[in-house]
């Protein structure tokens, strides 16, 4: 186990291509990256493949991390880019998405918050498009600030806020949730 802040490890990796230090960074952040990609793809095997690709990209692009903002924010930006690139290429992702959308269409319209089904994350995320899903997950699952999400997605902060608002609105509408029913 190597001690030191993320930024110190990044400096060591960039200056001397220290793979042990990079291994420590992967150990620290793999859980968040894999969880993020699992929620985006809703396929564990695909998410883990993408996570590996994400860390490989991170290795080659590490010199572009300026130290401004959190390292996990930067890493999630790489993960999101990897996801978008793979989505453009992969037929498999399209199939999974189609299946999930079909399942949501069949069952998702009549959920109410009292039913157990609303806790089914897959169905809830299926009502959101990729962009909304990524931003909602970054905000509520990864705890990134609007500024960090803005950096990660290359969107203005105002747009991030409106995407979150729109996503929440969709969830509310699709699951027939009233304001007083939260919590």
């Amino acid at each position: 186990m190597i001690s030191g802040e993320d930024n110190e490890l990044v400096a060591r990796i960039v200056s001397s291509q220290d793979t042990t230090a990079f291994g420590e960074l992967v150990r620290r952040h793999q859980s968040q990256v894999r969880n993020f990609l699992r929620k985006l793809t809703r396929d564990i095997a695909l998410a883990d493949d993408l996570s590996q690709d994400c860390f490989m990209h991170a290795w080659t692009k590490l010199h572009t991390y300026s130290g401004r903002g959190s390292f996990i924010g930067w890493l999630l930006k790489v993960a999101y880019t990897t996801f978008l690139q793979s989505k453009r290429k992969s037929k498999r992702y399209a199939e999974i998405l189609e299946q999930a959308a079909h399942a949501s269409e069949m069952e998702g319209r009549n959920y109410s918050v009292q039913s157990d089904e609303v806790t089914d994350l897959d169905k809830l995320l299926a009502v959101l498009n990729d962009e909304e899903r990524a931003i909602i997950v970054m905000s509520y699952a990864c705890g990134l600030s609007h500024r960090e999400i803005s950096d990660a997605t290359s969107m203005p902060v105002g747009t991030v806020k409106s995407v979150i608002f729109r996503g929440k609105e969709k969830i509310r509408t699709s699951f027939d949730i009233k304001d007083h029913q939260y919590g």
Binding site: V26, R27, Q30, R34, K168, Y182
Partner: protein
């Protein structure tokens, strides 16, 4: 000051935010050799990068050796056609010319060797 206010505003969560957080909350994923696999892949890639240059030089040298030998023979043949006075001019002007050329070639070879060792 303004950014602090924005951050505070972001942190004020309503019931809807807490509901989404609990819904999206998930247990940490165990490493299970994931980081070792990633680091192993990167080390393999680094080795490949280090090997690429010497291998390329070897292959290039192998391919180029025959035409190079032909070229050297042709140049040697040409020099025999030149008058002897002209050949002697360079050594007369700079008597250490052969030593300088040999030294320069050795220097280039040493620099290339050092660079490979550093990599």
């Amino acid at each position: 000051m303004t950014s602090k206010i924005i951050n505070m505003a972001e942190r004020i969560k309503d019931a809807e935010d807490r509901f989404l957080e609990s819904l999206l909350d998930s247990a940490p994923v165990a490493d299970d050799g994931f980081s070792a696999r990633v680091v192993g892949k990167i080390r393999r890639r680094l080795w490949l990068q280090r090997l690429a240059l010497p291998v390329a030089v070897l292959i290039g040298g192998g391919v180029a050796i025959k035409p190079l030998v032909g070229l050297v023979t042709a140049v040697a043949g040409l020099s025999s056609l030149l008058p002897k006075e002209l050949l002697g001019v360079t050594t007369e002007v700079i008597p250490q010319m052969p030593t300088i050329v040999l030294g320069a070639m050795l220097l280039v070879a040493c620099l290339l060797g050092l660079r490979t060792l550093e990599d």
